[in-house]
C-alpha cells in the first residue's frame, strides 16, 4: 500500500510535519517494500492553494493513505473526492509513523481540521 507522510525534513528519519498543505516535504512509501520517494513540497499560492496542489499531487502519485497532523478544508475536499484515507500521525519520525500505521495504531481523520476549535467560537460572528 502506498502511503504518504508529511515531513519536516528530507528523510524517513525526519519528524512528521503536522501540516499537510504546507508541509516542508512529503515522504511517499510503499508499506510492503518500504521503498520511499521524497518530494519537496513546492506547493504554494497566495493565501490558499497549497492544500489543493498537495492533494492533487497525492492523487497523481497514486497515494492511498496519508499520515499527517492537520488537513485544511481545501485539501480535505480533494482527498475525499479521491477516496484517499487520512490518518492522524504523531510527532515522531516518518518511519515510526509508518510502523504505527502498519500496526493499526493511528487514528483515522474524517472531518476537516481545524475548522472550529477553541473558545467561544459559537459566538455571533462567523
Amino acid at each position: 500500500m502506498k502511503v504518504c507522510v508529511s515531513s519536516s525534513g528530507n528523510s524517513v528519519e525526519s519528524t512528521m510535519d503536522p501540516r499537510f498543505g504546507r508541509a516542508a516535504y512529503f515522504v511517499i512509501a510503499d508499506t510492503d517494500t518500504m521503498e520511499s520517494e521524497i518530494i519537496e513540497n513546492t506547493a504554494a499560492a497566495s493565501g490558499g492553494g497549497a492544500g489543493i496542489t498537495s492533494g492533487q499531487l497525492m492523487v497523481d502519485k497514486g497515494v492511498e493513505a496519508i499520515i499527517t497532523g492537520n488537513v485544511g478544508p481545501n485539501a480535505m475536499n480533494v482527498l475525499k473526492a479521491a477516496n484517499i484515507e487520512i490518518y492522524r500521525g504523531e510527532s515522531v519520525s516518518v518511519k515510526e509513523n509508518i510502523d504505527k500505521f502498519k500496526k493499526g495504531l493511528l487514528e483515522k481523520i474524517t472531518n476537516t481540521v481545524p475548522s472550529h476549535f477553541g473558545i467561544g467560537v459559537q459566538g455571533g460572528q462567523k
Binding site: R22, G47, G72, S115, I119, G120, G124, K126
Partner: protein, 289 residues
Amino acid sequence: MKQVVFISGKGGTGKSTLVSSLSILVQDKMLADCDVDAPNLHILLKGKVLKKDDFFGAKEAIIDSSTCIRCGLCRKTCRFGAINEEFEVNPMKCEGCGACTLVCPQEAIVLEEVKTGETYVSDTSRGTFSHALLDIGAEGSGKLVTEVRKNIYNNKKDEKWVLIDGSPGIGCVVIASITGADAVVAVSEPTKSGLSDLERVLGVARHFGIPAFVCINKYDLNPEVTSQIESFCESNGFPVIGRIPFDPSIVEALQEFKTPIEAGNSNVTNEIAGIWMRLVDELDKLKAN
C-alpha cells in the same frame, strides 16, 4: 512550538512595537516578520543576516518579438490589460496566469519565474529571526509570507514559541500569516476606524478557526470606544488580554530606536509583561479543554 501571530486590521496600532517589546521579555522563542510589504521588526532587532535568498514568487509572460506576428490574440485574451500595443508585457499588471500563452498561434509567449523579493534568516540577541522583503509593487506577497513561515520551521532549534509580526488588512497576506497558527493577538486602538477594522480582522481569525485575543493600545484615548471594543469582545468570546495607555514617551523612545522596555518605562513594561502572562494562561486553559 507554538506560533503566536500579532495582527491588526488597521495599520499603525503598535503591533511591531509590542512584538519587539515582547522579544525582550519572552524567553526561548524565535521571531518572524510576515509584514513583507513593509517589514519593520528588523529595525529594532538589529540582527545580523545569516542567510539571504532570492525569492521567485510570481510568473510573468515574456513575448519573443522575433516570432510574434502581432496578431493581437494575446491582447484580446488578457483580462488584466497587461499587454500594450507594441506587444510588450507590463510586469506590474501581468498576473502570470498564462492565458496568453495558450492562445498564441506562434507559441511566442512563455511564462517565466521572476524574482519578487528576498528572504532573510537573521541572528539577533533575542533569537533567530525570519523575515523578508517584497519587491516594490510585486505580486505574490502571500506566497512570500508562506516562505517566511517555512524558514521558521527550517531554522528552529527547540524553541518553545514563535512571535510573528503579521501585516495589516484582512486579505491574502493576513490569511497566509495566520493559517495554522496557535493563536492570534489583534492589536487595536480605540478609534472609530479601529473598532470596525478589529471586527473584520477577528472575523478572519474566526473564519480560519484560530483562537484570537485582543489587546487595546492607547486605551485611554477614547474611553467610550474602549468600552465598545470591550463589550464587543465580551459578547463574541474574544478575551481582552491587555490595555496599554497612550504615552508620548513610547514614540520618543522609538525615535531613538528603542522599545519602551529598553527606555525604562516601567508602567508600559508591566502592562506588556501582563499581556504575555494572560496569553499563556488563556492558551493553557484552551489546552485543558
